[in-house]
Symmetry: D3
Amino acid sequence: MTAADSTGPSAEHATAGLSVATKATVLCEALPYIRRFAKRVIVVKYGGNALAGNDPAAALAYFAEDVVLLRSVGMQPVVVHGGGPQIGDLMERLGKVPQFVDGLRVTDSETLEIARMVLVGKVNRDIVGAMNVHGPVAVGLSGEDAGLIAATPRDEALGYVGDIAAVDPAILRKLIAEGLIPVIATIGSDAAGQAYNINADTVAGAVAEAVGAEKLIFLTDIEGIRTDPGDPATLVTRLRAAQLDDLMSSRAVSSGMIPKASACAHAVRHGVGSAHVLDGRVRHALLLELLTPEGVGTMVVGP
Amino acid sequence: MTAADSTGPSAEHATAGLSVATKATVLCEALPYIRRFAKRVIVVKYGGNALAGNDPAAALAYFAEDVVLLRSVGMQPVVVHGGGPQIGDLMERLGKVPQFVDGLRVTDSETLEIARMVLVGKVNRDIVGAMNVHGPVAVGLSGEDAGLIAATPRDEALGYVGDIAAVDPAILRKLIAEGLIPVIATIGSDAAGQAYNINADTVAGAVAEAVGAEKLIFLTDIEGIRTDPGDPATLVTRLRAAQLDDLMSSRAVSSGMIPKASACAHAVRHGVGSAHVLDGRVRHALLLELLTPEGVGTMVVGP
Amino acid sequence: MTAADSTGPSAEHATAGLSVATKATVLCEALPYIRRFAKRVIVVKYGGNALAGNDPAAALAYFAEDVVLLRSVGMQPVVVHGGGPQIGDLMERLGKVPQFVDGLRVTDSETLEIARMVLVGKVNRDIVGAMNVHGPVAVGLSGEDAGLIAATPRDEALGYVGDIAAVDPAILRKLIAEGLIPVIATIGSDAAGQAYNINADTVAGAVAEAVGAEKLIFLTDIEGIRTDPGDPATLVTRLRAAQLDDLMSSRAVSSGMIPKASACAHAVRHGVGSAHVLDGRVRHALLLELLTPEGVGTMVVGP
Amino acid sequence: MTAADSTGPSAEHATAGLSVATKATVLCEALPYIRRFAKRVIVVKYGGNALAGNDPAAALAYFAEDVVLLRSVGMQPVVVHGGGPQIGDLMERLGKVPQFVDGLRVTDSETLEIARMVLVGKVNRDIVGAMNVHGPVAVGLSGEDAGLIAATPRDEALGYVGDIAAVDPAILRKLIAEGLIPVIATIGSDAAGQAYNINADTVAGAVAEAVGAEKLIFLTDIEGIRTDPGDPATLVTRLRAAQLDDLMSSRAVSSGMIPKASACAHAVRHGVGSAHVLDGRVRHALLLELLTPEGVGTMVVGP
Amino acid sequence: MTAADSTGPSAEHATAGLSVATKATVLCEALPYIRRFAKRVIVVKYGGNALAGNDPAAALAYFAEDVVLLRSVGMQPVVVHGGGPQIGDLMERLGKVPQFVDGLRVTDSETLEIARMVLVGKVNRDIVGAMNVHGPVAVGLSGEDAGLIAATPRDEALGYVGDIAAVDPAILRKLIAEGLIPVIATIGSDAAGQAYNINADTVAGAVAEAVGAEKLIFLTDIEGIRTDPGDPATLVTRLRAAQLDDLMSSRAVSSGMIPKASACAHAVRHGVGSAHVLDGRVRHALLLELLTPEGVGTMVVGP
Amino acid sequence: MTAADSTGPSAEHATAGLSVATKATVLCEALPYIRRFAKRVIVVKYGGNALAGNDPAAALAYFAEDVVLLRSVGMQPVVVHGGGPQIGDLMERLGKVPQFVDGLRVTDSETLEIARMVLVGKVNRDIVGAMNVHGPVAVGLSGEDAGLIAATPRDEALGYVGDIAAVDPAILRKLIAEGLIPVIATIGSDAAGQAYNINADTVAGAVAEAVGAEKLIFLTDIEGIRTDPGDPATLVTRLRAAQLDDLMSSRAVSSGMIPKASACAHAVRHGVGSAHVLDGRVRHALLLELLTPEGVGTMVVGP
């Protein structure tokens, strides 16, 4: 081919120095993975922290390019995202002082409105926009849309912090069937229409189970799960759900990792093929995980 | 039937005093309209002002109930909304001072981000939520989703104020085909992924044309179009697009009504059956317009 | 809307005196019922007696309008009818003297031919015609068509009086799927092609079971089921199949009501949601039963 | 195959005397015709006279068997029938004296009701029943069903004698698509629901045109069209529509044959492949015409 | 019909001497069989020996005509063929000397290549070609295509003689659904892509089971199965699988018949309706077996 | 991913030395091409000479892997092949002496049979087999199957050498729609079922036009088209059909390249996006051409 319509950040690091043989080798290596995961749903939790760093816009662009590429080769990605830091930013700008009960943030109705604006109207939009520069492929959703996430209040004292009562994947299936990539902001609602803010890791796991995903992938800012959180050398590349349970029981898993680890263990016991904690700071981590034999991070399998 | 699962605001004003004959009469009267508009798209612009008043939440609940009822009897409603006052509120809370060029508000990137958060993360959510208490029927969309609205900058001096370059109704058709009600926030994006804020009246008209709607309906806060804006007695119930052009040329139409009037005239000349300006302050105005012989407001027909 | 294509008898009693608020209230009240019964089959037995009175043509027109309206809002009505009085009329005109065995009319081949002509060629046609003034929506069927009703002789001494051997609902499902209203004359046939006249109440129940109807409705000429047939004050508005069995055992149900009561009790035990005996003399009884919270008549539920 | 489920009148004349070679020859000879007419609509007008003779029930059984066989090998037959003699019989039994205007029978409302009962409730039923002994394949229709035949009055003085205003073949297409054989009684209706009796030859031609039939076949009681009605030796086996026009102009075609001849000439000029007048008294005339190289009767081709 | 597009060998023995009544009789006799086997798969093993004789091209033409006729009347034929004699011919011409181990021919890679060329490139082509003169209806397949037949080596000493590991009927279902006739050459392949030659009788049985065929038919060169291979008078017209087992145990079935008999017994115990051994030397044996009450050969039924 | 099911020849040259960044770069570079050619048909002529060399089996394996990879990423490859040298081999082994008329080989019926055995039964099989080690994706076809290639004799003196009368792509469309890769041997047949051998370059072009291919690619054994056949430095990377015409007129194109060049020029003028002559000796030439910006060989575009 003598002319390209190359787009995205990959253009910056040219491939000019690679031999055609090298290129062919890499492409061929990806073949069995492409075949294996064709028409399988891949749920990716895209966490704010995973993308922290000098250039968050570039990090998002790499992530978006990966997701669109996976779709191009026949996989069916679904993205779930949170946005804690961004919610905090707007609260601060509005002079809103956070309140806590037993260490958990109280979500009054004003906080909920701020969270919803930020998650649905900013973070979700940014992700959708980053994908849609590659074509009209992404559609933003809130858990409120078409009954996707039914929520219940977790604890009266916490206000509008919700737990998941049920996930109705019908709207996801419809969008996936049309070749679209759903991008989900984790606001749910109850039967009376009241919205709740829900933990994004938990939503990612529940969505993966509801659609029978092949993989549930958490993109975060560490290399994976360690048996000793403070020691990078204790990184585990593959473990069973039971082993992960043991690590959580023995407090070997850091508190910030608990929701992800729990979601991983639950998902692989409820129909999801495997669950992964990847280092989102590695460029194209998603692509490398799915299309090359090199593992990046930790893989959890059942039971 | 001896038990009902009645929901929504209608429960408050009971029908106990009506004879069954009266009820039957009203239901039968609606029959020919239900038949006529079955499987036809009805695009409704839901304006912030139309819903002003003592109890905006109740106004929204009535509106949502109407839209869901229309869908229940086989019509295919699409809702487009703006949110100017709500954007102004958040700007003020954030200490952002509006700037104007030739009377038009300059939209810098911070203003755009605020507008997007409010439109997509608040107003859109409120409308979707009000509908979904009746079942999982509504899905919120931004014009950025799946390439729905391609935008171009209007004027460099105005920043991210956009004009419509193209409407791709594919995602609307897919959602409608699934029995869902799309609710559209009027943010568009260009090929590079840059978002723009677009006039909601203009979007409503363009969407109605793109999907070949049967009706384009503006719910606003006056009775309809008047030949003398200051004189309620000059309300016109029905006029042709050419007559509307004359009214606009002669400055008989108020400036605030111009985008609506222009959209009406353009739409009926481009495949839309009729366009309407209704008084959204009348409870169930939409229902009455579509299911009874009484007209409420002004109807514009081509050519 | 400023122009209507109003049709049917409802035009005669104008709604001019009703406020728009009243109209809106009635329409909204119907919403939960429309939603609940969408895409559900409603089998209505339309009995000759239910429509007796000063103006049978008007009664039929009201009934037809109701059935068409139910279809317009998404229900799937199926009509089953008899025609005893009309058969008697033609027999008399042809000088045919009825013969009885143990109180049951003997149906020789000439009587059968008369019954078939009247049911299929007159009553069925009149019902189909009354509906089709609203559009091409109704299709007349005999139980002989496409194997709909397989019959067996009840008793040799009675001639061509049949019992139902089987109902094959395939043709009903096909017509319903096309948006059509099947209107069924209750002639069945055996494997050799011999036709039989079958009790219409029994056919209505068997059809409702075969298609898994939501409701089985008998339109007749009394207010409903009474615990004392002679005392209107003993009207029951709701009872269980077991209670209905008791009433039949204790002879509290009149003999003319027995086939209907039996069909009701059997149907709700075999997959039909509920069964109803309504007063067909009330104008729009069907509409009121299905679209308002007021009950008209008796509802039977399982078990 | 060592066991058969043979049905129908063919069982009576055994094939025991035929060699297997003879059988194979006949079956193979039919192959190109089966292939040529697969999925093509064949409209057959089944006239009362064609089936006159010693044993009308046997004639009907042969006809029904032929139609079902044609469907079994992939053709799509549609049957249209009249029933003049049978209408006359019932009128006579009811003491109704026919009245004529210019030689045409006046059809008052009582006559119409009789005609409708006989056509829809007797003749149509007999034909459907004769087919359905072979399986649930036939469905009776009146032109009133689902808007099939829109009628207009021919002449006020003739009462309810109708002309065809339009044929809406939607219901025919739906039934054919389901593998069913529509059998049409020739009653039409106007927009107000008034029924009319329509000439069956004319209906057959109009239906054939509306569905784009491959063949329009009139089964009658003469060998075909003759250039001299009184001379069997003048039978024509094949002629063009223009030649048929000439025969009609020169009064060479008998008056009873005129509606058939007109329908033939019109049909082949409006999309029907060929039109045929066959001798219905020949057993299996339909089968022989369609599945063997021997012609029976007259074929009309365009233009 | 006055003109035919008759093709195929049947043209040679004219039907001129047959009365139309005879023809109609034969056609009607076929009706119940056509109805019974519509949309049923009929797997036919076409053996080289069955077609031996003075004029193999004519034999093939008769066979092809039969298969195409069966498809024309709605059956779904699948053809499986071998080609032993033809493989032998080419080996001889190439000077290749057959080698045997325990009486079984050793298939080295050169022999395999010869077998594959002959089966896929000659015999398969000849059969496909003979059918396609009747229209584009046949498609040649090797068991290697689209994973149809997975093979395993039978015995190292025999080289590339394969057993069936699995049959994947997906490609057959797709072709049948498109109205095509698959013609299968019995080469299978293993996971590494190595081809194997497999016994055609065994393949025919396995294919019939995999597609749930109505019938499995072996066309061979004897009248059927005999209880004494040397005595034509001991021909059995119908027997159960258990009886066939007994005949095989007692060596009453000739060695050449063993693979066919085994396949028959296995097939009727694994979902195939019946299995047949027919005399392929009888012209149109297939047609006569399937469309007339006369049996030709032996029918095996379960269990 | 920590485990791979890597298959195919690519395993031999490991990617261990490549950084993950390099791999990601190559994969991302392929994205725009994958998106551009998704669901587009790519017709590849696979010539015997292109694969000549030390290890033809390895060359075939590389080619097969490329084709399967292209399908995996959403393209729709169709392979057309010849097999001249292999035909010559078998003729020689059978002692068949080639005869020529005006430099063209005479194809008598024995030669045709040999050609057909080799093309359909050997070369086609080898290609299908090489692909199907990656899964059940390839299906071999002869132009005789399902009426794919209608042939006419070119010249009586040449015997069964055919020209293309018509290509019916229906079978190709069906197989492609099922996700299968058609592999076409270039034997055509006439209406009487007579087979002909047809030039494979010509078939490739005609097939590409018939299916509206995006690309027509000739894999051969030179770097591409040169303006001076003898001088590698005159290789042209891109030219228009008109320029190619000029090269052919001026005899600058070598005689062996003429059929390819003609097919290229014709194809791009008849709906094919572009035509290519690639050097099949470069490993993964197909992959590199379609998924990287580097061109390998000559591209022809219209007009």
